[in-house]
């Protein structure tokens, strides 16, 4: 028995049950959260690098599932994010109205489908299986986006389809060239020939569309801003990370042989531009959810800015893994809080938020705490991530990268302080209808988790480096010299 397949299969079982259960979604969700939490804990106790093939069919035929450090961080984060978002969604998509409301009836099966897709994507090393996984995520994500705006969803679907074609094109070349689609096998076989390089370029292109890296981000702000708050939280938190993680597996493991420094620097440069562009666009937004959506465009940039830093000195790999987790949790918290604030506010604009800090202090606090993590202020998870990344950049003499990250933090402060300042301004306290406790608690819990992540920095960074691919420079962490060496080194 292994949690690796159960983490993918359990949400699918819940999807089937939710299609049959009608009004029983509440109990189903409780059961799902308990199951997934237990499985996530189990996953974290595994040795990094634990792997097995599904059904016992060996490679290169079968599909390999593996718990590396990245997966061991991301999957529990998905459980936390999806679980709390689900609790929030119980009010927005109240199970009682499933008989009369199409969105409510469809939300829950799609929610479990997305949960399964995210776990499946983080746990497998099989490039073709990842294609199916990407499409599972796309279906759920586009349908959730359509609950806000059909137009944005259609645009999202078409661009996602094109991204999939490019990804699959690369997979086809790799399979034909090497006779396998498994990343761990490819790591030992890949050569830097033309077909491999082209396949890497095509797959990366397709995945960057799905990860919404500037300038391929055009579909994201309308879709994420229009969707209902719990859907936005899942879209910005979970879905964009899938494309990112597959890109990481390709560049640093499977096809590392074809990943030239020039290519890494191009990705890093695009990441830097994404930080600046996304932040400046966020500053210009008048609507709160559009601001938060553009902030996602900027934060995705950090993930790719780290690419050229990974092989060098410092701990860019840990920073990258950390950032993916911290952003997932903080952004979900922010979208959920924004959803509550907008329900209470007079309109969708930032200017409409006046006085909300007094009317709904807990929700505005959640927004503020999430903002602290996104800006990268201590002691948050976002701070630990950006500290590790900036430190790595400085050690490698990449002053521009370090500068971009610091400027990005400042710009984040500019765009995130604006809604907060408005919420604290105004002399009148708007009358806000009382909200269900779990609806207020979900964003607050997520924001606190993002903040507390900073305190768990050491162990988590160890976890990330524990299962890291061979291309990542192994070196003791700056503040953690005295902690135990990583598990994988112990074993060797």
């Amino acid at each position: 028995m292994s949690p690796l397949d159960l983490l993918v299969v359990a949400p699918l079982v819940f999807m089937v049950l939710s299609l049959l259960a009608g009004g029983w979604q509440r109990s189903l969700l409780a059961l799902a959260i308990a199951t997934m939490a237990a499985l996530s804990v189990w996953l974290m106790t595994l040795d990094p690098g634990t792997a097995h093939v599904v059904g016992g069919w060996e490679l290169p035929l079968g599909v390999l599932l593996r718990a590396d450090g990245l997966a061991q961080m991301l999957v529990p984060a998905v459980t936390l994010t999806a679980g709390l978002t689900g609790l929030y969604a119980l009010h927005q998509f109240a199970p009682e109205s499933h008989a009369s409301n199409a969105q409510t009836a469809a939300f829950w099966p799609l929610y479990y489908l997305m949960w399964s897709a995210a776990n499946a994507a983080f746990l497998t090393t099989d490039l073709f299986n990842l294609y199916v996984t990407l499409e599972m995520a796309s279906i759920a994500a586009v349908a959730m986006a359509a609950m806000g705006s059909v137009r944005a969803a259609l645009r999202y679907l078409l661009i996602a389809l094109l991204g999939s074609i490019f990804y699959l094109l690369g997979v086809a070349l790799i399979l034909s060239r090497y006779g396998t689609v498994d990343v761990t096998l490819l790591a030992g076989m890949a050569e830097a020939d033309f077909a491999t390089a082209l396949a890497l370029a095509l797959m990366t292109g397709g995945l960057l569309v799905k990860a919404a890296l500037f300038p391929l981000h055009g579909w994201l702000p309308p879709a994420h801003a229009a969707a209902p708050a719990p859907a936005s939280a899942l879209l910005s938190g979970l879905v964009v990370k899938i494309g990112f993680v597959i890109t990481v597996r390709l560049w640093f493991e499977g096809l590392a042989a074809a990943a030239t420094p020039a290519g890494l620097h191009v990705l890093g440069g695009i990441g830097a531009l994404a930080i600046l562009f996304g932040s400046l666009q966020a500053i210009r937004q008048e609507s709160l959810k559009a601001l938060v959506a553009y902030s996602t465009v900027a934060q995705i940039g950090y993930l790719f800015l780290a690419f050229p830093l990974i092989a060098g000195a410092g701990h860019a790999w840990a920073g990258l893994s950390f950032h993916a987790v911290a952003h997932m949790i903080a952004k979900a918290a922010m979208f959920l809080a924004a959803g509550l604030m907008l329900k209470a506010a007079a309109g969708p604009r930032i200017a409409d938020l006046a006085g909300l800090a007094r009317a709904m202090p807990l929700t505005v606090t959640a927004f503020g705490l999430a903002a602290v993590s996104l800006m990268g202020l201590p002691p948050s998870g976002g701070f630990s991530a950006k500290f590790l990344l900036v430190d790595a950049a400085l050690r490698q003499g990449q002053a521009i990268h370090a500068a971009v990250m610091l400027i990005g933090g400042l710009l984040a402060a500019v765009y995130l302080f604006r809604p907060l300042a408005v919420a604290f301004s105004g002399s009148e306290t708007p009358v806000v209808p009382p909200k269900a406790p779990s609806m207020v608690a979900a964003p607050l819990a997520l924001a606190l988790a993002a903040l507390l992540l900073g305190f768990a920095g050491g162990p988590l960074a160890d976890l990330a480096t524990g299962g890291a691919p061979a291309t990542v420079a192994p070196e003791p962490l700056p503040a953690l010299e005295d902690t135990v060496e990583t598990a994988s080194e112990d074993e060797q």
Binding site: L61, E135, V150, L158, L162, S164, I165, L168, L169
Partner: protein, 105 residues
């Protein structure tokens, strides 16, 4: 030799189909036709997989199975895409009728 040529012939046809589909996707301005274009590209990728798996007398069953999976995934997404296009058209249609009514009164 002939088998080699056959495999390459179909794989190259697939490559051209990918390019044609991409051309259609960018230049066609209606979502339904873009959906059709994506399907042409997808069929091209599948044909590349099949052609490059062509041996002396047989075609590798492994890519065959992947292609079948791909075809099913493609039809699922195409069907959802078509439903979105129709929903979008209904919304636009309703908005237009509202406008016309508003203009008359």
């Amino acid at each position: 030799m002939e088998a080699l040529a056959t495999g390459h012939l179909f794989a190259l046809t697939g490559a051209v189909l990918v390019g044609l589909g991409l051309f259609g996707f960018i230049t066609l301005r209606h979502a339904l036709r873009q959906l059709l274009a994506v399907n042409v590209s997808g069929a091209g990728v599948f044909l590349m997989l099949g052609g490059l798996g062509r041996g002396a007398a047989t075609t590798d069953p492994f890519p065959q199975a992947l292609v079948i999976t791909g075809i099913v995934v493609a039809v699922a997404l195409t069907a959802f895409g078509a439903a979105l296009i129709l929903r979008q058209a209904e919304e636009d249609h309703a908005a237009k009728e509202d406008d016309e009514r508003g203009g008359k009164t």
